[in-house]
């Protein structure tokens, strides 16, 4: 943010306010909530917070750039697998993970070797998903394949990765996935309460980091370019930009964010399996963003937390209702709340709802001013400036 550092006083004030707000929320999650709920529940909350990180990544590509990816499960799972492979290799020298014995594999497959090193793994957690995302993005965007075609291709890629990981028992234990709960990390058991608490704090820190990164990316010129690509890509191209490069870059970034989230989710749930690449799970990620409000980063986080919380509540009590509820959520968000909860409040949703129900809108000023049609018309003529974000996606 150094290049476009806020200069005007009210802008810098807003900046400080936002940092304080985000920091305040992070403190509430990191300090207050652990005092209130037991560690087992905290683990669930930590998982949700790592899902909120993926939601941020999806918001970056969908909310801002208009690319609906149905394949973020790939990157999520890749991040998880990278970390889980490292954790399964925390063994004495020349001993290979136990599951290899079941399939008669005696030598460690070559691609496992580098994961013995922790620094490499920490790098791989986001570099590998980013590279795969970038590659997939490049071969698709290069041909100007976009819109629903892109969505379908990402979904197909997801199915392919699922099949690959599901079928290769000798390489990565197939359907069973890799378990991390009993692995050792820095001399402590990953499943133990102490480590889980530290992971929870780490998740909060990384969520803040991801938020900061996305905020930084979307607020400057780069962010405006992303929105321009979303709203009118041909025009961006005619203005002399190459949308392909930007799309590949932002898709890769989003993949990296998803990879980090996947790694955090894996260590907090104790297993990574091909189920993370389920078609339904990847589409669900999109609905988190849509519920909260796409194109707003707060919305993505809020949506991920809300929907997952609802899922836990509902599927614990009435497992049958959850799918109905989720389906209804998709329909409602698309038809009634296209900008999500945050967007609804920003648009003066309460007044709109009142108008829909046939009540006069609530007015903060002298009622006659707001309700007088002539005054309203004059006002509209004055601020007839076009809205900041376009309508068509």
């Amino acid at each position: 943010m150094t290049a476009t550092a806020p200069t005007r006083p009210n802008q810098s004030k807003a900046w400080i306010k936002e940092v304080a707000l985000v920091g305040g929320f992070a403190l509430v999650f990191a300090v207050l909530i652990p005092l209130l709920i037991p560690v087992s529940r905290l683990q669930i909350l930590g998982r949700f917070l790592s899902l909120a990180i993926v939601a941020l990544g999806i918001d970056l590509v969908w909310g801002y750039t208009g690319l609906l990816s149905l394949g973020h499960g790939i990157f999520f799972a890749l991040g998880g697998y990278a970390l889980a492979m490292n954790l399964s290799l925390q063994l004495p020298k020349d001993v290979i993970p136990e599951f290899f014995g079941l399939y008669g594999v005696e030598d460690l497959p070559a691609f496992w070797e580098p994961f013995k090193s922790m620094p490499f793994t920490l790098l791989a957690v986001f570099v590998i998903p980013a590279a795969i995302a970038g590659l997939l993005g490049y071969v698709v965007f290069r041909n100007r394949i976009r819109g629903v075609y892109f969505s379908i291709l990402t979904q197909a890629a997801l199915v392919v990765f699922f099949n690959f990981f599901n079928g290769q028992q000798k390489l990565i234990n197939g359907t069973n996935g890799l378990k991390t709960a009993s692995a050792q990390l820095f001399g402590a058991n990953v499943g133990s309460e102490g480590v889980q608490f530290k992971l929870y704090i780490l998740t909060i820190v990384l969520l803040m980091g991801a938020y900061g990164l996305c905020r930084w990316l979307t607020s400057g010129r780069f962010g405006r370019l992303l929105i321009a690509i979303r709203d009118d890509e041909p025009r961006v191209r005619f203005s002399g930009y190459d949308p392909t490069a930007f799309k590949v870059l932002v898709f890769g970034m989003s993949g990296a964010i998803a990879g980090v989230a996947g790694a955090l989710y894996t260590v907090q749930s104790g297993i990574v399996s091909p189920q993370y690449m389920d078609i339904a799970f990847s589409i669900e990620m999109v609905i988190w963003v849509a519920v909260g409000g796409r194109g707003t980063l707060v919305g993505a986080v809020l949506g991920a937390l809300l929907v997952n919380w609802a899922r836990v509540l509902l599927s614990e009590r009435f497992p049958e209702v959850w799918l109905f509820f989720q389906g209804a959520l998709f329909l409602i968000v698309v038809t009634v709340l296209p900008d999500g909860i945050i967007g609804w409040f920003r648009d003066g949703g309460i007044n709109k709802a009142r108008a829909f129900l046939g009540f006069p809108p609530k007015s903060r000023t002298f009622p006659a001013v707001d309700l007088d049609e002539n005054i309203q018309r004059e006002r509209e003529m004055v601020d007839a400036a076009p809205p900041a974000s376009g309508e068509s996606r």
Binding site: G66, L68, V139, V140, R142, N143, R144, I145, R146, G147, V148, Y149, S151, I152, L153, Q155, A156, A157, V159, V160, N163, F164, N166, G167, I279, A280, I283, V286, I287, A290, E320, L323, F324, Q326, G327, A328, L329, F330, L331, V333, V334, T335, P338, A355, F356, L357, G358, S392, R393
Partner: protein, 392 residues
């Protein structure tokens, strides 16, 4: 030996391709003509399969007579009608509001598909009664209120009252009825259901030392009939002409008096109905369950993407090509031939490569990679649309 293997590959490829094509046909129409991605297509197939199951059970009293063998034709018609009506309902209630927003349509239809999937799992007597009650109260109430002169102002408020009220009444009613064991029991539950193919579709034809299962031949024939029917409808009938006109230029068609609304509804109903027929066809291949749709939808989309949008012939070629490739790679025939021809040693890397991909799921991986490569050469598919309106 190898010739026989080749025949085997060709026939099986063709039959997989036929299943893919019949699943993709409706999708190609809806996507190609309306630009709508229907992720609930697989679930419409599933509805068709369950309709077949119901029709078969209705024919049970005739089980010993030759008439029983004909239930499949009744089921085909019934599956078409059920899926088409469901599609029509979907179009009128949801998709109509989302034209021009393809990504939103995609998400909405996914929501519908989730609901349908859970619906067949948990539908039972009490739930059906609840649903009927809800529809009666909700739409009946609207119809009553619509007679009032101030309906336009009242509309929003009426909706806000009617929807929760009728929903709550229906929910309470079905909860109360759940006390009756006979009503609470789900009709299908989450288990897979088995449709027994009629006698004349079991067994197979022997030809040149090869076995051709009759069910597969029937599906190929059915696909051909559907294809011919759709071709005739789109190219030779008055409504087909209107559909094609709307596809090419919606505004101009509207100006010339074509009811575009009706055309949209009709197109969507036709595509959905074809999904129902496809669902009826796949019951012949094995047991079917609520998740039937998920197995077909991605492959069907791949057929449409490779074939190119808006051209049926593209879908045909793509379906057969993908079907043959999948079977060729997945059946493990290639490594077998290489051993027979003693090429294993000289072409070791190639042999390893084909052995690695010689399972159904790994074959899918390879086919997808090939599709991506193919799209690098022809991004708009095999037979892209030409002209000014064409844009992918």
């Amino acid at each position: 030996m190898i010739l026989q293997g080749l025949f085997d590959v060709l026939f099986n490829g063709l039959s997989i391709g036929a299943v893919l094509l019949i699943a993709a046909l409706g999708l190609a129409i809806v996507f190609g003509l309306m630009g709508v991605i229907n992720l609930a297509h697989g679930e419409l197939m599933m509805l068709g399969a369950y309709t077949t199951f119901i029709v078969q059970n209705a024919f049970k009293p005739l089980a010993d007579t030759p008439l029983f063998g004909l239930y499949i034709f009744v089921a085909l018609v019934a599956a078409f009608l059920v899926a088409a009506v469901m599609g029509l309902f979907l179009e009128r209630q949801v998709i109509r509001y989302l034209y021009g927003r393809p990504l939103e349509t995609l998400l909405a239809t996914w929501g519908v598909s989730l609901i349908l999937r859970q619906f067949v799992r948990s539908v039972g007597g009490s739930m059906a009664i609840g649903l009927v009650l809800f529809s009666l109260l909700f739409w009946g109430g609207q119809a009553l209120l619509r007679r009032r002169p101030d309906w336009n102002q009242l509309q929003g408020r009426a909706l806000a009252v009617l929807l929760p009220l009728s929903g709550a009444i229906a929910l309470v009613a079905s909860f109360l009825l759940n006390g009756q064991p006979a009503l609470a029991k789900p009709w299908f539950s989450a288990r897979n259901i088995d449709v027994t193919a009629p006698g004349w579709l079991r067994g197979g034809l022997n030809f040149a030392g090869l076995q051709f299962p009759t069910a597969r031949l029937f599906i190929i024939a059915l696909t051909l009939v559907c294809l011919a029917g759709v071709y005739w409808f789109l190219q030779r009938s008055a409504w087909g002409l209107r559909i094609r006109a709307v596809t090419q230029n919606r505004e101009m068609s509207a100006c010339l008096g074509i009811p575009t609304d009706t055309v949209d509804a009709l197109t969507f109903a036709l595509g959905s109905g074809l999904a129902g027929v496809a669902g009826c066809a796949v019951t012949l291949l094995g047991s079917v369950g609520p998740n039937l749709g998920a197995n077909y939808i991605v492959d069907a989309f791949m057929v449409v993407v490779v074939g190119g949008v808006g051209k049926l012939v593209g879908s045909v070629v793509a379906a057969i090509a993908i079907g043959t490739l999948t079977y060729l790679l997945g059946s493990g025939n290639v490594p077998l031939w290489m051993t027979q021809l003693n090429l294993t040693e000289s072409l070791k890397p190639l042999f390893d490569f084909f052995s690695f991909f010689a399972t159904t799921s790994m074959a899918k991986v390879m086919v997808f990679a090939l599709i991506i490569v193919f799209l690098q050469i022809k991004p708009a598919g095999l037979f892209p649309q030409k002209g000014r309106g064409a844009e992918i």
